[in-house]
Subunit: 321 residues, 2 copies
């Protein structure tokens, strides 16, 4: 969470002259998002977020992400809406970086979600999946099962320095998941990174979903599995089935899971946990000197994997027929 | 510029319950201020800044700073206005740190001020000095001439590693300034750190002054000398007399300098430059590992000192009778 790029006032003024969003009143670099530089903008027309994309976001993917946010916002989903400039495009350039202005969303991220937050999230996730159904662009999930072995190769030699036998456990997980990974489940646009910091609440209601920079085309139930991992474990490492039940039931109220999705849920949850364990492990072992961002703990997901390996059916996540 | 303290949503909600500023809609950590952690707060009542004081601000000084901001805001100066909680106090505690909510000020800092900005700043500075005249509290300037030799002692042995002969130059400056430093000039509350990032503009007008955490009781003309240093040098190191003239004339339109202030201006400007060179030098030589903030270049002020040493009269700063 950092401001990687300083934007001088003259450069910002020149950039904003291309937009029809009123006169600039204020801008502040904000500590939001690990990958990009974000500014809160206040103009005579309202509040906005200005994002400068740093090198971890592939520029070629931006039309997908921005097109998706436009599509979802047009269908009433509370997500950042890209603002087009006078030339009719949302993607601009500022300080040598791709840059976009989006609408500002009110709301607060909850650090420790309760059952009611999990319920609201399940409903919002189903709403996201429904709103994306007719989005015409596709983006393969670059961090799905095929990516995990190459990711692990970057960390394997040093994995046991992070936790005893982590390498062996991961090799077993990889073998099992590569063999059994479900294909052809119902799918479409998924968020793929819907952690608590990417969901805003006002009171108990979801007021916004943000950070679509891992969004891709993949199985809907995999998105749900990511959320079960991110929202339903307690600090002591235990899975809270009441929270899982609230999330799954709320999701199913809008889009019931089919039998293959239900059957696959344990494997999807295990795969989702492995995906985050692996990216965190690689980041953990490769903190650059002078890094502005503290890496996230891979062992949190190692502990979640231990739970998933023992699960034998979707009801252990709170699924009920 | 960093968020040093993460504030969980539950902790913030409990803190805000003591204030009558409506319901929380949003908060974002912002990259503003080198010393403290700041959040932009949006509530149903408006916009605010929440500041958590990190260890570089002495807690015992906070009543002076907060009292001063209240005093100045009550006299119509555009500065952050501390918001009192239901118990009637502005100073609270959050996440183990002293914490304050102040009103949000619109405006943009100019990185490269033009003559018109220097003129507006001169007027605003005189307005600040006038508004503080009847402020009853006193705070000695902890970074005035008596502090410079002890500061230098922390850096002297390594100073020549930063620039050739910097130690010898600084010893000469110290001797001259300690001998000739003017006493008993007209004085009162000064800002003492009115760099461009602490002044907001909307268009060509000053919309706010912020960051009063070096404010103290000292000579008014010393505050002007700090501003001449911070606003009127060009990137190539030359002093822009046109800018100085605009600033001094605008200041004098509200509060004419008396003959002793005029005579002392070269020494005050040299002292101000030495003060910032020294604090930057000490910071430069003591960057902690993992620092979130890039230290400022002491040599910028070493170059300014070279100019001040050659000055023989206030007219070289743009003063006109």
């Amino acid at each position: 969470m950092a401001v990687y790029t300083e934007v001088p006032d003259e450069a910002l003024a020149a950039f904003l002259a291309d937009y029809d969003i009123g006169g600039l009143l204020s801008y502040k670099g904000i500590a939001e998002g690990v990958e990009n530089t974000n500014f809160y903008l206040h103009t005579t027309a309202g509040s906005y977020i200005l994002t400068l994309y740093e090198k971890r976001v592939a520029e070629g993917d931006l039309p997908f992400f921005l097109g998706l946010m436009e599509h979802l916002a047009a269908r009433g989903l509370a997500c950042p809406q890209p603002i087009r400039n006078r030339a009719g495009t949302a993607l601009g350039r500022l300080c040598g970086r791709p840059a976009v202005i989006v609408s500002f969303l009110d709301g607060v991220s909850v650090r420790r979600p309760g059952v009611r937050h999990c319920r609201a999230l399940g409903r919002a996730l189903a709403g996201l999946h429904a709103a994306g159904v007719d989005f015409p662009m596709r983006r393969p999930n670059a961090l799905s099962v095929a990516a995990w072995r190459p990711l692990f190769a970057q960390a394997e030699a040093q994995a046991d320095r992070v936790a005893p036998n982590l390498a062996a456990r991961t090799r077993d997980d990889l073998a099992r998941l590569e063999e059994a990974w479900p294909r052809d489940l119902p799918g479409g646009v998924i968020h793929a990174d819907l952690f608590t910091d990417n969901v805003f609440f006002i009171g108990d209601a979801v007021s916004g979903l943000i950070d679509f920079y891992f969004a891709c085309t993949d199985a809907f139930a995999y998105d749900l599995a990511i959320c079960l991992n991110a929202w339903c474990f307690e600090l002591d490492g235990s899975f809270n089935r009441t929270k899982g039940q609230a999330m799954i039931a709320a999701y199913q109220a809008a889009r019931p899971l089919d039998p293959r999705e239900v059957e696959s849920l344990p494997l999807l949850a295990r795969g989702a946990a492995l995906r985050f364990m692996l990216t965190r492990l690689v980041d953990w072992l490769n903190v650059p000197p002078g890094a502005l961002v503290k890496p996230k703990d891979p062992l949190e997901y190692d502990r979640k994997l231990a739970f998933h390996r023992r699960v034998t059916g979707a009801e252990e996540y709170g699924w009920t027929p």
